[in-house]
């Protein structure tokens, strides 16, 4: 049976069919849906971990124990998980271990566009790159087999266009569910230097064996066409090449580390012009250049952003002697773009009723230096709130607030950090511990909306539910921060602006570290909204104070502000700012 699946759905299906029994992840676009789908299959234990490092460690334990294991994360998650990954590459596994790294060229939903294939080479583990949903499913199975055959973790690297594109997938039955016996083997799994020295030798031997394997493995294949142009490619770029240059010869690499040197040399010898087309880093190109070959790659293709069909056609036409092999229809211009009017941008915004809005309004009013973090609240950096100074990575807000304070003691009382509940549990705890330990005095504001909102509302250790929606223990954030050594712990309601402002001022001014837990559930989780607000246009003095909230339910007019009652959730922030009392809850007497 064939089904239309996204790459992520297909990876989950592949893990199920290939007998994976343990899976762990931290949510992150574009990887999140893999575990959300996998948890629905019978016979698979899947969980959200507090962060990617723990997820990978859970996976390491399961795989050493003999289970087939899947661990998934977005590209930057691998930075967090890199420590166990690099040494798991030494110990090897027992049951198959696959790490899915979902990269985001073009940064659709990320803070950088690092190319994680580099990690595979660095950690000396093989990396597979699927080009379609069908390959996503098939390559999970293949990766598990390679993992077990060569006793190594294996990376399966997708990109946004693979993870979030749908294509047909042939479904199969579940096979291979056979958790192996665990046998204690300290020399293999206890990486003290004496053992690790021996394991590094094994890693190098394994690399050579893998080098031989990739020469003949089925996912590295030549599709012969005209021998004027030969293209070496992988992942979604293969699909683009098939569209714009269907007649050329293609060496499609399903495994991009290690590379099949012999196969590449044979291919290169047969074609007149050799190209390597890949997104982001010249990962394959550099390895091929080391072989002494001279393909055309990053000389004409950018290292930044995504590759497109049009770009491939244009770039190849700019250099090739075989222009007939390029389908120029992709270059036929379409409808002319509108140039006479300015098209306003439509950036993402905090939702109406978002509990983050009130805090950023206050931080803006107080002109605080705000060390920010990763989540929906990063939107607080955009106009009109503009109350964020930095956003680097998960958890960075807290440590960087301490650093800013140490660099500028005179800024005491003006530096705060903001971090979501899920992000705090991911990697904010150690930052706060550092503040307590090193006598910082900055204020940490935890925006507790009781979910991982940005990635689509996943549970975490403070929601009281697991990935499979079972009830579980719930960490008490206030008790946790007290245990870290923070004595000043305040709670605040983000819908009460006066109280919130007072608390932020007080805590920031204190001569010791403090935490404010600003708590309200994500607006999208509230099924029954409050009554919306309406505006009495005659009473509105059009001062536009409410417009500083950046609420999509409010719009500026020539004579008065208007409220879109279909969007308004009745959070009442605007009414609190209105000096003329023009904003009233629907149904209340106006006047």
């Amino acid at each position: 049976m064939k089904e239309l699946l996204t790459g992520n759905e297909a990876i989950a299906r592949g893990a199920y069919e290939s007998g994976v029994t343990v899976a762990a992840a931290y949510p992150g676009t574009p990887s999140t849906e893999i575990l959300e789908n996998l948890v629905r299959y019978p016979g698979v234990y899947a969980q959200w971990s507090p962060n990617e490092k723990v997820a990978l460690e859970v996976g390491a334990g399961a795989a050493i124990g003999g289970a087939r294991t899947l661990v998934t994360m977005k590209h930057v998650g691998v930075n967090v998980a890199a420590d166990p990954l690099f040494t798991l590459a030494y110990t090897g596994i027992n049951g198959g271990f696959v790490l899915v790294s979902a990269d985001d060229p073009g940064m659709h939903s990320s803070q950088n566009e690092q190319d994680n294939r580099a990690y595979a080479k660095f950690a000396k583990v093989p990396v597979l790159e699927p080009s379609s949903s069908q390959e996503c499913k098939d390559m999970v199975g293949l990766a598990l087999e390679i993992s077990e055959q060569f006793d190594t973790p294996v990376m399966l690297r997708t990109t946004t266009r693979i993870a979030h594109s749908q294509g047909f997938v042939e479904l199969g039955e579940r096979t291979g569910e056979h958790t192996k016996a665990y046998v204690k083997n300290a020399q293999k799994y206890v990486m003290i230097p004496a053992h690790a020295r021996g394991r590094h030798v094994v890693v190098e031997e394994r690399r050579k064996k893998l080098q031989a394997y990739v020469e003949t493995c089925p996912v590295n294949r030549v599709e012969w066409g005209d021998r004027g142009i030969g293209v070496i490619t992988s992942g979604v770029v293969y699909d683009y090449v098939k569209e714009v240059a269907p007649g050329v010869s293609i060496l499609k690499l399903g495994i991009t580390f290690p590379l099949p040197e012999q196969l590449i040399r044979e291919f290169a010898a047969e074609v007149k012009e050799l190209y390597v087309i890949e997104e982001l880093e010249p990962f394959m190109e550099e390895q091929i250049r080391v072989m002494g070959l001279e393909p055309v790659g990053k000389k004409i293709f950018p290292r930044i952003g995504e590759v497109s069909q049009k770009m491939i056609a244009e770039k190849l036409l700019s250099v090739t002697q075989f222009k007939d092999l390029i389908d120029k229809s992709v270059l036929v211009p379409g409808v002319e773009a509108e140039k006479d009017v300015q098209i306003p941008v439509r950036p993402p915004v905090m939702c109406p009723g978002c509990p983050h809005r009130g805090l950023f309004y206050i931080l803006n009013q107080l002109k605080m230096t705000v060390m920010g973090d990763i989540g929906c609240y990063t939107l607080g950096s955009l106009p009109p709130l503009e109350a964020m100074d930095t956003c680097i990575c998960m958890g960075a807000s807290i440590g960087s607030a301490l650093g800013m304070e140490k660099a500028h003691p005179e800024m005491h009382g003006r530096v705060v950090s903001v971090i979501g509940d899920s992000t705090f549990l991911h990697s904010g705890i150690t930052g706060l511990l550092d503040i307590a330990y090193n006598k910082g005095a900055t204020t940490t504001i935890i925006l507790d909306n009781s979910t991982t909102a940005m990635t689509g509302h996943q549970d975490h250790p403070a929601t009281g539910r697991t990935l499979s929606k079972e009830p579980t223990g719930k960490v008490d954030l206030a008790a946790l921060v007290r245990a870290l050594g923070i004595k000043r712990v305040a709670a605040a309601d983000p819908f009460d602006l006066d109280q919130l402002k007072k608390i932020v001022e007080e805590e920031a001014a204190a001569n010791e570290p403090s935490v404010i837990i600003v708590k309200r559930p994500c607006a999208l989780l509230i099924k029954q909204a409050n009554l919306p607000y309406t505006i009495e246009p005659e009473t509105c003095i059009n001062c536009k104070k409410c417009m500083k909230l950046g609420c999509p339910a409010l719009s500026a007019g020539a004579d008065s502000v208007a409220v879109n009652s279909a969007l308004c959730t009745g959070c009442a922030l605007c009414a609190q700012l209105c000096p003329s009392g023009a904003l009233k809850k629907e149904g209340e007497v106006i006047g």
């Binding site: 979030h164 594109s165 749908q166 979604v236 379409g334 098209i343 439509r346 915004v349 417009m547 719009s555």
Partner: protein, 195 residues
């Protein structure tokens, strides 16, 4: 159909308007016709009220999930400004279907930028085959604003020449039972709309 035998449909709108359900219904229809299908969506940050785009490609064999600029056969826009924003993705001679609804982006709400006027006329002057429809009003008639997406699917399915019974089958497959009757009604409104 493009020369490659692949039909390209770009669905654009504002995060939260239900473009993803529309693309799922469309791809199910293509599947019923025995086509190969690729669909590309964007999740995450962009969903928070930002400009969103879903791409559906169908034909004998489809490799790329993405439509190149200037290669779309049809653009289905859930909002006026988004139609203007994505217009250049349509090939010359293509069809533009626009939901005649304005959702003001934040710079406009703040009074910093203007929402362009006469969008439909501007588009029609470039694209003769432009269909504008008030899907929101038709959805309201069915009792739920959120069904605008399925009203628009009714317009698109008829324009593309799909058989109605197949459309109903796709709705049954993709829409939760609770909302099925509402959505069938919404689909009819779109299918029967005078365009």
């Amino acid at each position: 159909m493009a020369s490659s035998g692949v039909t390209n449909i770009l669905i654009v709108g504002v995060g939260g308007q239900g473009t993803i359900l529309a693309s799922r219904i469309l791809s199910s229809l293509a599947q019923q016709e025995g086509h190969d299908v690729k669909v590309s969506e964007i999740h995450g940050m962009a969903q928070r009220g930002g400009s969103v785009v879903t791409q559906v490609r169908m034909g004998k064999k489809v490799f790329s999930p993405l439509i190149a600029e200037g290669q779309a056969d049809i653009i289905l826009s859930f909002e006026r400004l988004e139609a203007l924003r994505w217009m250049q993705y349509l090939k010359n001679g293509g069809t533009m279907i626009i939901n005649d609804q304005a959702i003001e982006p934040v710079p406009v709400l703040l009074g910093l930028q203007e929402y362009p006027g006469n969008i439909i006329d501007r588009i029609r002057s470039r694209i003769p085959d432009t269909i504008a429809i008030d899907a929101l009003a038709l959805a309201r008639k069915c009792g739920n604003d959120k069904a605008s997406n399925v009203v628009l699917m009714g317009v698109l399915a008829r324009k593309m020449g799909f058989a109605k019974e197949k459309c109903i089958r796709s709705l049954e497959e993709k829409v939760p039972v609770k909302f099925l009757e509402l959505n069938k009604q919404a689909f009819e409104e779109g299918w029967n709309a005078e365009i």
